[in-house]
Structure formats: C-alpha cells, structure tokens
Amino acid sequence: MSDSQHQAQKKSTTLRQIRSGHRWLALPLSLFLIFMAITGIVLNHAESLGIGEASLPGSLASRYYSIPENVQGYALEDRWFYNLEDRVFLDGQRLLPVCTELTGVVKLAGDFVVACTDSLLLMDSYGALIEEVSLSSAVSALGTRDDQLVLKREEGAAGFDLADLAEQPLVDAAGVSWATSALVPAEVLQSGELLAISWQKFILDLHSGRYFGQLGVWFQDFIAILFMVMALTGLRIWWGSRR
C-alpha cells in the first residue's frame, strides 16, 4: 500500500470513529436537549404563563427545598422580623420590600420602622408598607430615645425625623435603646410563605442544575461541554463527507 493510500485509509478510519462516537453521544444527549429545550421555552414565556406567581404545592416545595437555619431577626411584641432571599419577612409572611440586610427594627408611634442598610421601611401593624425612605448612607443599627428615632452609622449616631426626613447628629448617644437581633425560632421560619417557591424558580433550578446543588451545576457544565464536542464532531463529519 502506498503512503497516500495509507493516509487515506487512516483518515477514513478516524472519520468512522468520530462518526461512531458522535452517534453514541447523540443518544443520551438528545434526551437532555429535549429537556433543556422544553424548560427553556417555558422560562422564556414565564410572564405570559404566570409561573412566576403560581407556587409549588407545599408538599413538593418542602420535599425539595430546605428551610434555612440560624437566621437572625428582630422580635417586637412577639412578632419576628427577619430577612431572607432579599425580602423582609414578618412571622413567616414575605413582605413586599426588597431588603438585602436587616439592621434594626423598632416601634414608633404605633408603626414599625425597619432599617435595611440604606433605607427605612415604615410599616403598619399588619406589615403593609406605609413608606420607604432612602438614606444618604448605611445604617448599622436602629434605636429610639424619648420617642425619637435614632440611627447608628460608622460616623456616629443621628436623630431622624420621619415627618420631614431631617437628620441631626447626636453628640451623646446615652439613653438610646438599640434594637438587638436574636435567632428566629424554628417554628416561625417553618410557618407561612418561606416555602412559597414559584414554578418559575423550580423550573429555572431544574434548567440550570442548581436543583441538585453544586454537583448539578457541574453536571450541567459537563453536558454543555459534551454538546460542544457534538457540534465539533458534527462539523468534522460534515467536512469529511464533503470531501
């Protein structure tokens, strides 16, 4: 056999091997592809399908999502304020405002004042948001003194007037009753909407692999790499067939 014939045979064998590998990969990957396509289409039309608002049945949610532990919150009159997933919760009920870090809760003139780092949320006794007030800088703690709201910042404490949003630095912070956090009891965490997982979140977690934790994410990455291998082998086969 001449060199050119030998090379041609070698190329033909390589192409056959690539074709075989491509075929065998295609079988399991096709199932993933169908699954990803279906979840992807559903997520693409999440708003019109209303899956962002519809919640998973509680039994399904509690089976596959765990309730966090060791959550710090603020207790006022036997009611617990805490924040999870960037939301404020009151006794298990997810409230409207976004809050990345709860830094204090006090009661003032019958209403709750909730400090969320750089904003104050004024809430009525039902947890309805009366007003959200943005602050000029972050607040690390909230307190009261003589029916006045007091904010603690890095640079010092300041009295805050909710009526006209005026701040006045306090020379002396003696006598301020600061809100202190404590561990939220498990029964409060387990009640209410904490497990109100939307169908959108559930499908997104399945689509991304996050449903199965970090291993699931890595597995999805692995599948994505296999898809790339499929694309490259497919191109190679197409190129070989052309020639």
Binding site: L96, P97, V98, D124, A128, L129, I130, E131, E132, V133, S134, S136, D164, L165
Partner: protein, 173 residues
C-alpha cells in the same frame, strides 16, 4: 491578527457585562436642582379614589400606602419607585404648571434596561401633560432591550402628573 482578536473579545466581554445596581443621582441633589432651596416634604395617602386612579395608571397598587412630595407654588417633585422587570427603579419627576419639567432616573437596580437613564430618553417627557384622561399627550419612543424599563418610567411619569393635579386641586380648596 491575534492581538486584534483578543482585543475584540475583551471589548465584547466588557460590553456584555451586565450593569450592576447603581445610584445615579441622590434624592437631595435632585431636589436641590429642582427647587434651589428645598421645601419641606409632605405626604399624600393613596386611598379612596386616588388609590383607584393609581391602580388604573400603574396596573397595580403602588408599593406603599403613601408617597412623599415636595411643593413650591405650582411646582411639585416626586420620587417614586416602580418595578422594571424584577427590581424597583427609583425615578424623580418634577411637574410644574401641569407639565412635566424633568424626569431623572435616580437609581437603577436591574441588569438590563439601564439605557432609560440617558437624556435621549428622559428628555422625551419634558413638557408632557395629559391628553385624554391620564394618557400622555405624546408617544414615547421605546428602547430595544429596555421595554419594561421604558414602560415603568412612562407609567410613573403619568402617575406623577396625576398626583400633582390632585395636590394642586387640594391646595386650591
């Protein structure tokens, strides 16, 4: 050739990076620019027929039970929040003599749609007033890829105009 390819890839990566949450203008600065000497703030409770009108304009209840405004004569300034896609956009609106004087995006928290903060978009609202009912007297050009943000800013502008009219009507009584 390789250098150009790397440069192109880097540029693409930077442009493709989502914008993080940003405060573009502090509320106090916005108010100072609107009034010079900032008047004392007042609150307006969104209840009764006001609540219904707000719902008609926004398509839902406003996120809080009351809103705060600043007034000097027939000029009012409002700082209102509206959800774009998932996060609230903080919008400052100044209304004078029943026309929108200015719209400013004070804070934007989404990863997309931040183009609404640019003057080419917000300047469309200058001089806008109501035409029929609570509809604006002009079309607002959208921005590709920022549809929800555009809708949010437009709705809030209409809301500010409406609340301005209610405040002035109450002041006249």
């Amino acid at each position: 050739m390789r250098t150009r390819l790397i440069s192109l890839l880097l540029c693409t990566a930077v442009l493709a990076m989502p914008a993080s949450a940003a405060v573009y203008l502090e509320r106090d600065v916005f108010l100072q620019r609107a009034f010079g000497e900032v008047p004392r703030s007042q609150t307006l409770w969104l209840k009764g027929d006001i609540k219904q009108a707000v719902q008609d304009i926004l398509g839902h209840d406003y996120r809080s039970l009351r809103v705060r405004y600043w007034q000097h004569g027939d000029k009012t300034a409002w700082v209102l929040d509206e959800i774009g896609k998932e996060q609230p956009i903080t919008i400052g609106i100044v209304v004078a003599a029943d026309h929108i004087e200015q719209v400013q995006i004070l804070a934007f928290r989404e990863s997309r749609g931040w183009e609404v903060r640019h003057p080419f978009f917000t300047e469309q609202f200058q001089g806008a007033s109501f035409f029929q009912g609570t509809e604006l007297d002009r079309p607002i050009d959208g921005i590709s890829g920022a549809t929800l943000s555009v809708k949010a800013v437009t709705k809030v502008s209409r809301l500010a105009l409406y609340l301005h009219q209610r405040v002035l009507a109450a002041s006249a009584l």
